[in-house]
Amino acid sequence: MLRLLSISSKSISNSLRKSSSISSYSFTHLETHLCNPTSSPISSNPSGSPPNQFNSINPAKTPDGYSFSHRFDRNFSSFSSKIGFCKVSSSGYWLNCANLRTCERNGSAVLRVQGSVSGMRSFSSESDRESMEYDVVIVGAGPAGLSAAIRLKQMCIEKGVDLSVCVVEKGAEVGAHILSGNVFEPRALDELLPQWKQEEAPISVPVSSDKFWFLTKKRAFSLPCPFDNKGNYVISLSQLVRWMGTKAEELGVEIYPGFAASEILYDAKDTVIGIATNDMGVAKDGSKKEIFQRGVELKGRIMLLAEGCRGSISEKVMKKYNLREKRHAQHQTYALGIKEVWEIEEDKHNPGSVIHTLGWPLDQKTYGGSFLYHLQDRQIAIGLVVALNYQNPFLNPYEEFQKLKHHPAIKPLLEGGSVLQYGARTLNEGGFQSIPYPVFPGGAIIGCSAGFLNVPKIKGTHTAMKSGMLAAEATFGVLQEGLNLETYWDALQNSWIWEELYRARNYRPAFEHGLIPGLAISGLEHYILKGRSPFTLKHGKPDHEATKVARLCSPIQYPKPDGVLSFDVPTSLHRSNTNHEHDQPAHLRLRDPKIPEQVNSPDYAGPESRYCPARVYEYNPDEKSQLKLQINAQNCLHCKACDIKDPKQNIEWTVPEGGGGPGYSVM
């Protein structure tokens, strides 16, 4: 039996609420309408207090004296009548944000934290959103998010219960924002879906050869291969995630692509209770277009954040709850990966061939390397990964990648071929030292948002999936048995993720001192100490602090693209199928709009115009010949490099209207 008590309240901003009598009914969502507060049924209020009590001039009376409202939204996922939302905040959701503006109101009001810094949109209308409630809301339909969703539903079937699981994804479809090398270790998938082969997962090319080259400008030297890829497969992660999405939907998970989680919802006790999606149909100047649609609130008893590397919501949560400090973790370090998928000539194609390179075109002080994997159907994946703690602000990772393709060892392979897709994404390289405490009040962080990538193996998919599965198991324990979500943290530390990342912890920090010391220490770790080293090396400066000022570095001259092997950014961008609704506010926000012209441009020669793989940032001279920053937000590939590398951390990547961004299908 569902009851709703709605109490009309009047707030300063005149957002009036519809009052309705108490009755036993369930309804799909609550809508806010303008109404006359005096028409509220005083007599039906069980606590007997007149509704004017909620007037902001009378804040003394706490809502605890009133029956709270249970907001039971119908669960659309399954028609088993599980009531989604059992946790009730004593203040009731009616007494929420409208009262925020009255600061005298005590903490029992629901707080909303604006995800954006723009300040263009006022607080006035945040209380009129539709709200939907689930047991678990997962942000991000990637390997981690979908693994968690699938595992939850599997456990429901095992134990004969049902939980409503919703996955919200900012890409236009599942897999649209997924980019990875990818040499896949099926360890986690074997645990999650052991029948993946019979169920026709797009995993069909086993690794057939593994090579490791050191490149100089003209030559390639074969080095002993430090990787052991036996039993692994060369795949397109975008395809795999797409397949996992269909598996999840078969199990009853609700997946909503095209909806971007932009705001975190908190309750009175500062617990995360949900997210809100973006308003759609806002014009560039902030005004509402004819087709304006208010965002929707998705509330979950447990929230799982699976946004991938440098997830916008995850970063906010980590900062708010000091999750890194809690575990004395170091900062996260990152790299930018730029990738193309080519279709090459039949006789040059060798399915399962895996090549990694080190050295040229990057110098001794810049960590990074390239990869070249042969997939099926004459396709190859080729890319360059550049660590973002590079020092020279004139470095342009995109152009370095174009240079790489002209190397005599790589060029013959690509000749006669054509590019199918292009894309870029940052990845974490912090490893063990940078893992934050992943549990926060109301949920947990899984996958690359926390950072489980194994850097020497260059694999993060299997650990991301396993972390999703562990979080799902912990979540199930919380929801069904009343356990604590801390069990996720314990499970992580007892799992093979921990053991694997612990053994891999020193490889990347070893390169702090340069390529040769890095190789030496890595060799020591790999061949002699075999992961039993007594020391743990630390990361150097955070990536954005590592950039030297421009006057101390020399500009790099990059060759012009030849249109056959190397291309200019607009051509490549076209191949990423990137699109955003052009008439929307720019999703890349400058915390201080003066800094680009006062700091980035004069001191660092505008590094964002160089590291952005989509040419979002351009410095153009204006009438007074001053360089002005122009932000072409429509080009954005959602790689997050700018959020990471901006020297003053002035650029904030926020999420644009859902459905925008790249359209990867074979990446």
């Binding site: 277009k289 929707v296 359209g663």
Partner: protein, 251 residues
């Protein structure tokens, strides 16, 4: 009055098109598909007419393989009341589609049939006109404004033509095909997407509708257009004239 809207599942407009290596067509495997933008505009117009109180029901129709159901669900999420899927594998050319629509119109008896002016994959711009011809209905194509008069049962349509705008007045039932400037389609909201999952989609086959979809056309080959050649910078006007005369043969 019932409004029937035609929606087509096409490759998303933002996707870079690739011709299949065997040149039989365009690569559609693993490619993002969505509702044809002109069909979105058509559906939006139908919804606005319904919201203005001049129609009782909006029925979305799509023809093609099983995946068309996804497009219909999007249409239902935007606000269509019912959907019909005509299950047909193999290529469907405009005349076949028009014949199928004639059959459906005779079944459903809508007062208005709205289609997009053309699909972005084949750019035919034929289906709407053909249906009108088969049904003997008036047609207002390239509509940039539609105004209905319920009592007099007529539609006034502003058409975008080469010379400017042409205003037509037609009796209902009629066929309208939509152009870009007619409206801006609404977003499908999350709650509506959820509700759409439970709405009914009726399925027909061409056999059930007694329509022969064998086509008189056959695609022999699809090739990419020739690559643009690089421009040449000339050093003098004389050189330019010489090139135009002797190389490009245009003067």
């Amino acid at each position: 009055m019932k409004i029937m809207v035609a929606v087509k599942r096409v490759i998303d407009y933002a996707v870079k098109i690739r011709v299949k290596p065997d040149k039989t067509g365009v690569e559609t495997q693993n490619v993002k598909m969505s509702m044809n933008p002109f069909c979105e505009i058509a559906l939006e117009e139908a919804l606005r007419i319904k919201e203005a109180g001049m129609a009782s029901e909006v029925v979305a129709v799509s023809m093609g393989p099983a995946q068309c159901v996804d497009t219909l669900r999007t249409g239902l999420a935007m606000g269509a009341d019912r959907a019909i899927h005509v299950d047909a594998t193999g290529p469907l050319y405009p005349l076949s589609v028009a014949k199928l629509f004639k059959a459906l119109v005779e079944l459903e008896k809508p007062g208005l049939l709205i289609l997009g002016k053309q699909a972005i994959d084949d750019d035919c711009n034929q289906t709407g006109q053909m249906v009108a011809g088969l049904l003997g209905w008036p047609q207002g194509t390239f509509a940039s404004k539609v105004v209905l008069d319920k009592e007099k049962q007529l539609a006034t349509v502003d058409r975008e033509v080469d010379g400017g705008l042409e205003t037509l007045c037609m009796d209902l039932p009629a066929v309208i095909t939509t152009d870009l400037r007619l409206n801006q389609p609404r977003y499908a909201t999350l709650p509506n997407i959820m509700k759409a999952k439970s709405k009914v989609i009726k399925k027909y086959t061409p056999q059930e509708l007694n329509v022969e979809i064998k086509s008189d056309l056959e695609v022999l080959q699809v090739t990419e257009p020739p690559k643009r050649k690089a421009g040449v910078i000339v050093s003098s006007v004389d050189e330019l004239i010489d090139k135009l005369k002797n190389e490009a043969h245009v003067i």
